[in-house]
Amino acid sequence: MTAPAPARGRALRARSGRPPWILLVPALLGVAFLVLPLLGLLASTPWATMGERITDPAVLSALWLSLSTATVATAVCLVLGVPLAWLLARAEFPGRRLVRALITVPLVIPPVVGGVALLLVLGRNGLLGRHLDAWFGLTLPFTTAAVVIAQVFVAMPFLVVSVEGALRGADPRFEEAAATLGASRATVFTRITLPAVLPGVGAGAALCWARALGEFGATITFAGNFPGTTQTMPLAVYMAMQRDPEAAVVLSLVLLLVSLAVLAGLRGRST
């Protein structure tokens, strides 16, 4: 072999490793677009007073409320959303396309409208709410449960869409194989289907949790805003914005860092 040949080989290898500019440029612009607002937030953060602001009991209470309600909402979404995704992906029934279109409605309607819709159904005078009140003395609005309901409403489509996609990608022949081995449909689902789509369920749950954590419009409309019971971090940020924009920046940053830490932690554990 002649001397220049290895050099050429290296050059070729280097070239094949570099992504084409037609992808690279838009990708970098995309990153910049997503990251610049975050840098803006960091740049305007009053670092000096950061410590005392974060340990403010009102902030801690809103943060705890946000984390706990988003987690409960995600659990509810998993319990309801995974079976729904299964039905959409695997079962044949009339109106399936319509149902699929309907479950994405919360993605497209403004959350505030979603909150009003929830009030009209589950509010004290709502279609169902009035019976809940009459029969059980149960009123949902202005309770922590209402916060969870509002979050479930806006976040569940993210979970359903992710899990349905994963189910469609999973090979149904494995389910048939399990059936020939004597597995009931429930066993097939829990022992074969669910493990196969677990990464999709995880991704969906993470999206769902993030959406629930950031939820504002439906929450403030349906659950109201009261520190300790219904004032989650996004509501606290909005209220702070009215009087003390610096405090709003700090609160936003706290919310952002906590959610990034949780999501990164989950991802690290799942891979």
Partner: protein, 261 residues
């Protein structure tokens, strides 16, 4: 929003140029006027804008309504506008100290803007007043679900002023982000009472009932208006403020439930 306002500013410049020679009115007033006003002024200012455009055929009025604080923040961030009408003096003060008012206009009308209306709190209850609310003290009862404005927003500040002055503690179930949200809760019957402005009760029509209470005098909210330092045409902006301060303006404001300054 900023983008739309920028376009408006451009067209204002065009309107005074040679492209629109026939547009000049008797008074020489022409172009586009951008007015940013507190959301509670929506109906009154929309009506006055029609009047203004009829009186001055070469003028087009662009109205922007939102919470006073949000508008003040936009103005101070450089959003182009000619006139700002705030729902309270504190918020106007933010603009006076920030983007500033037109110095010539301020010299004539006051450096903190001109107060053109007042608004007082009223108790809004659902039609039929199911909880039988009669005065402010009733709202301290735990069995009366009450919605208030959050203390961070102007109507909430007014609420706090009243309750502090009278020593009443209201058992609120929610602290809403604006007066409209309080009203929605009352209209839907989700709460038994809400503290809102008299003007909001008037605007809601039959959807809610209003209950007056004497303690409202402790928080009379003044509405100041001012011509902004960055106004493209201060003369045109001053003409709009004159209309607001005129008898025509006063009648329209009174009809909407505002008090006189």
């Amino acid at each position: 929003m900023a983008g739309a306002l920028t376009l408006t500013a451009c067209s204002a410049a065009d309107g005074t140029g040679p492209d629109a020679p026939g547009a000049a009115s008797r008074d020489g007033l022409t172009g586009t006027l951008t007015v940013l006003a507190a959301a509670s002024l929506t109906d009154v200012f929309t009506e006055l804008a029609e009047q203004f455009e009829t009186d001055n055929p070469g003028v087009e009025v662009e109205l922007g309504f939102a919470g006073s604080s949000a508008l003040a923040a936009q103005i101070n961030s450089g959003a182009p506008a000619d006139v700002f009408a705030s729902a309270n003096t504190d918020t106007m003060a933010l603009v006076v100290d920030g983007a500033g008012l037109d110095t010539a206009w301020a010299a004539d009308h006051g450096r903190d803007g001109a107060v053109f209306a007042t608004n007082t709190l009223r108790i809004a209850v659902p039609p039929g007043n199911p909880a039988g609310v009669e005065d402010l003290a009733d709202l301290s009862d735990d069995s009366v679900a009450t919605a208030l404005c959050a203390p961070e927003v102007p109507c909430g500040a007014a609420t706090t002023a009243v309750t502090d002055a009278e020593g009443v503690e209201i058992a609120a179930v929610t602290l809403e982000q604006d007066v409209r949200a309080v009203l929605t809760k009352v209209e839907l019957g989700e709460v038994d009472a809400g503290l809102v402005y008299a003007t909001d009760v008037a605007a809601a029509g039959d959807a809610v009932e209003g209950v007056d209470f004497p303690e409202s005098d402790s928080a009379v909210n003044a509405y100041p208006v001012g011509v902004l330092a960055d106004a493209a045409d201060p003369e045109l902006a001053a003409a709009w403020v004159d209309l607001v301060l005129s008898d025509t303006g006063a009648d329209a404001l009174a009809a909407a439930g505002f008090g006189a300054p």
